[in-house]
């Protein structure tokens, strides 16, 4: 392919580079607002937390390999499974997918940055500090120990004294700031920053998935925040929300938790489905079949997911009538999920398959996710649910959904976008080895759980007696877990190998259809020398898009005077005006650090310190939002 965007002459390019490039220095490392650097940080940090959560899982699997093992104490086991679940859900899956979103959304929609670059930087720092805040409790034996869903009354101050659950409530409240900021940023970016001509019905499916996810965060996360705030007040100050003796109700926790928690399953899976829709066109040589139907399915899932929360509570004694409603809603949600699966299968059947590692992971995803969906449909039946609830059958089900629905697409995405992110190609053979080890390891680990779940093994037990038909299968699961771990290690080796030794990647190694492939690998700081004009759903397969960035590109799309990118209208992507983007700033880091001080002070009940931190937060926010004069000076 020719150099993309010959339309910007050398002076334009120099001015763009001058305005956007950050000189490497400690200062720029701490103050950067570049969405690509922030996206990479999200990916690396979430990967680090994934490793910690994975090691926790290996320890648990080793403990469970044989009956009556005493490798871990019950207390250690409780903390490990709680941190494993909490970290996988909150510190790995969502941030990893937000990392892809941060790196890719502006590139896919032809923008030079996110709508709020400094908020973006702030969101990353908060995520990092909140993650460290929670993990730091583990070496002190003070980690959360009530399961990732932290059901009261097990987590009340009477039954779980100490800091454990305070780390959980405060850590998640702290992290929630980052997730909310990220969600708002994604929605506004997708609505206002699309390249001219990219109407909503030309927006890539991955971006649709991220936007739907962000809307789910907006409406679901407050329930978790309210829940955690109430639990904190109950534990620390003796409020009575969950205390039956004071007229409170323990089921209130579960309702609020699952009003958040069920949409959260889709918050985690949806961007994964988006990655699948992004990877398929490049390896089938055609667009995803039924684009409008897939978009409708994404929107339908986002809405229906709010009507199914009580299917997590079929065994707690709800009124009979609610079983019917939630059972029906849980069955209905399989329809839009099925539409997407059939759209992908049709795409593969009608296209020409190029079987490389990313596509292997997509196929692995479809197989695994469908199996998880089938057991999900079984759980929608109340009678079945009441039989196997809180057994290892549940553990098998949700690992099929989450490993299948999030981890496999994430791995597909890593291999697919590695050339774009690092500018280097990965080694194909290493990738295939990693795929087969991960795929086999995953199924060997989790498939037997269906069996010993049906045989009655409860989840969250730290050991079990011999002779219950559980021991052999548990050993199989443990062996599978180590195979899975070796496979994931190979992924890491593959990434490091690519970064160190990979051959340089061309702008478009796969023949992808979205705009990120129309710029260099890795993209320059300003993403696109000329903001492309979009004419169809597959802009890089469309000669008119390439022409629009060629010679004669107009000044309103080169925008080399200043740090600028165009705003377009929400629905049809009509050009509105250029906006001035903010420069690097240290305030996001200062604000996130102050919040870390605030939450640490709350954890240890140093209330004067907390009050001082609130004052600094207010001051920093005021200074951050103060209207500067930079924009006027350059106009």
């Amino acid at each position: 392919m020719d150099t993309p965007a010959a339309g910007a002459d050398p002076t334009d390019r120099e001015r763009l580079a001058e305005n956007w490039t950050e000189r490497p220095s400690l200062r720029s490392w701490l103050t950067t607002v570049d969405h690509k650097r922030i996206g990479r940080r999200y990916l690396v940090t979430a990967g680090f937390f994934f490793a910690l959560a994975g090691i926790s899982a290996l320890l648990m699997r080793t403990q469970l390999a044989n009956p009556g093992s005493d490798l871990l104490s019950p207390q250690q086991y409780n903390q490990l499974f709680t941190m494993h679940g909490t970290a996988m859900i909150f510190l790995f899956a969502t941030p990893m997918l937000f990392g892809f979103g941060n790196f890719l959304v502006p590139l896919m929609i032809g923008s030079r940055d996110m709508a709020f670059p400094r908020l973006n930087a702030f969101g990353y720092w908060v995520f990092l500090f909140a993650g460290l805040f929670m993990w730091a409790s583990l070496p002190f034996g003070a980690a959360p120990n009530g399961g990732w869903f932290a059901y009261v009354p097990l987590t009340s101050v009477q039954d779980s004294p100490g800091l454990h659950l305070d780390v959980y409530t405060l850590g998640l409240l702290f992290l929630g700031i980052s997730t909310t900021a990220g969600a708002i940023n994604f929605i506004v970016t997708a609505l206002k920053m699309r390249a001219p001509g990219m109407s909503l019905n030309r927006m890539p499916l991955f971006v649709w998935a991220i936007v739907a996810t962000a809307f789910m965060v907006i409406f679901a996360l407050p329930a978790l925040n309210v829940d955690n705030a109430m639990l904190f007040l109950d534990r620390r100050f003796g409020a009575g929300f969950f205390d039956p003796a004071a007229g409170g109700n323990v089921l209130l926790w579960q309702h609020l938790f699952w009003i958040f928690g069920h949409p959260d399953v889709y918050i985690i899976v949806m961007p994964g489905l988006g990655i699948v829709s992004a990877v398929l066109p490049a390896f089938t040589r055609r667009g995803v079949v039924g684009y409008p139907l897939v978009v409708l399915a994404i929107v339908a899932i986002a809405i229906i997911s709010f009507g199914v929360w009580a299917h997590h509570m079929f065994a707690v004694g709800l009124p009979q009538v609610s079983y019917g409603f939630f059972s029906a809603a849980s069955s209905i949600i399989t329809i839009p999920s099925g539409i997407q699966i059939f759209a992908w299968l049709a795409t593969m059947l009608l296209g020409r398959l190029v079987l490389r590692t990313p596509l292997l992971f997509v196929i692995g995803f479809i197989v695994t996710f469908v199996l998880g969906g089938v057991t999900g449909a079984m759980f929608a039946l109340t009678a079945f649910d009441q039989q196997v609830t809180d057994s290892y059958f549940v553990v098998a089900h949700f690992h099929y959904v989450l490993v299948g629905g999030a981890l496999f697409p994430i791995l597909a995405g890593i291999y697919y976008w590695l050339p774009k992110i690092t500018g280097r190609m990965y080694a194909e053979r290493l990738g295939r080895w990693a795929f087969w080890l991960v795929f086999i390891g995953m199924h060997v680990t989790f498939f037997p759980m269906h069996l010993y779940g049906l045989f009655g093994m409860p989840r969250r037990v730290y050991t079990y007696p011999a002779g219950l038909d559980w021991d052999g299968w548990n050993l199989v699961s443990t062996v599978g877990a180590y195979v899975l771990a070796v496979g994931l290690l190979l992924v890491l080796v593959g990434v490091v190998h690519a970064v160190r030794r990979g051959r340089p990647a061309p702008p478009d190694p796969w023949g992808g259809d979205t705009l990120e492939w129309s710029t260099d690998s890795p993209p320059p700081a300003y993403n696109f020398p000329v903001i492309p004009r979009v004419h169809s759903l597959h802009p890089t397969w469309d000669a008119r898009t390439a022409e629009s960035t060629g010679p004669g590109a107009t000044a309103d799309r080169i925008l080399s005077a200043g740090r600028r990118t165009p705003l377009t209208s929400e629905l049809d992507g009509r050009y509105e005006r250029p906006v001035e983007m903010p420069e690097a700033s240290g305030k996001p880091l200062v604000l996130a650090l102050t919040l870390l001080v605030l939450f640490t002070a709350l954890l240890f009940a140093w209330y004067p310190v907390a009050a001082a931190a609130v004052a600094v937060v207010a001051g920093t926010v005021a200074g951050w939002l103060w209207p500067g004069r930079r924009a006027e000076a350059r106009t």
């Binding site: 709508a115 709020f116 909310t180 969600a183 708002i184 940023n185 929605i187 506004v188 609505l191 206002k192 920053m193 907006i218 409406f219 996360l221 407050p222 329930a223 925040n225 309210v226 705030a229 109430m230 007040l233 109950d234 100050f237 003796g238 409020a239 009575g240 929300f241 205390d243 004071a246 007229g247 409170g248 109700n249 089921l251 209130l252 309702h255 609020l256 009003i259 705003l567 209208s569 929400e570 509105e576 005006r577 906006v579 207010a618 005021a622 939002l625 103060w626 209207p627 500067g628 924009a631 006027e632």
Partner: protein, 191 residues
């Protein structure tokens, strides 16, 4: 000094609308919890030993807070015509009404805290957390107005326009949420 608003919604406008949406969901969760605990509690509500909430003061607070959106709207209209004095006068009036609301709330707390507290029972926890959280929002809104009043000292331009509009959105949100709280916390026990 340009007073013209540029074409199209700004990113800041969308950001504030989405922020307010997620905050509104937060209040919805709190009010939903109120009704959940109330209906799980049996017919006696508020529980024994706590009188039904007195209505005079909350209605007075409503009469102070809800109309405070009007000077804000007047200020915003003045903004479109580039009349800085209207922006200042309108927003200052809104802030004053908001602070009056907070003053009334403080006198209410002073009385009620002798009757029941956050820890008395679940009703007390709900009452103080819901009203307190809303009061905190009024305080934040008033702080934002104070901040914008200072920031418009340099006059108006597109960037300052955006800030005035965003603060107005937040202020209307705080007012509307109060109506939900008035109904739930103060009026519904009488029904």
């Amino acid at each position: 000094m340009s007073a013209e608003l540029p074409a199209g919604r700004s990113t800041g406008w969308w950001g504030m609308v989405l922020f307010v949406t997620t905050e509104a969901t937060l209040f919805a969760c709190l009010l939903g919890s109120y009704f959940y605990l109330r209906f799980q509690n049996g017919p006696q509500w508020p529980p024994d030993g706590i009188a039904n909430p007195a209505l005079l003061r909350p209605l007075l607070m409503t009469a102070v807070l809800v109309p405070s959106s009007l000077p804000m709207i007047w200020a915003e209209r003045g903004l479109r015509r580039g009349r800085l004095w209207r922006v200042r006068a309108g927003m200052a009036t809104s802030m004053l009404l908001g602070l009056t609301f907070l003053g009334l709330q403080a006198t209410e707390y002073a009385e009620l805290l002798t009757e029941f507290t956050l820890t008395t029972n679940a009703y007390g926890s709900l009452f103080y957390v819901i009203t307190g959280f809303h009061g905190l929002h009024v305080l934040i809104g008033a702080t934002m107005i104070g901040w914008v009043l200072t920031a418009t000292r340099g006059g108006l331009d597109a960037r300052r326009h955006d800030r005035v509009r965003n603060v107005a959105i937040y202020w209307h949100f705080v007012d509307i949420v109060w109506l939900g709280i008035l109904f739930t916390v103060y009026l519904s026990p009488w029904l």
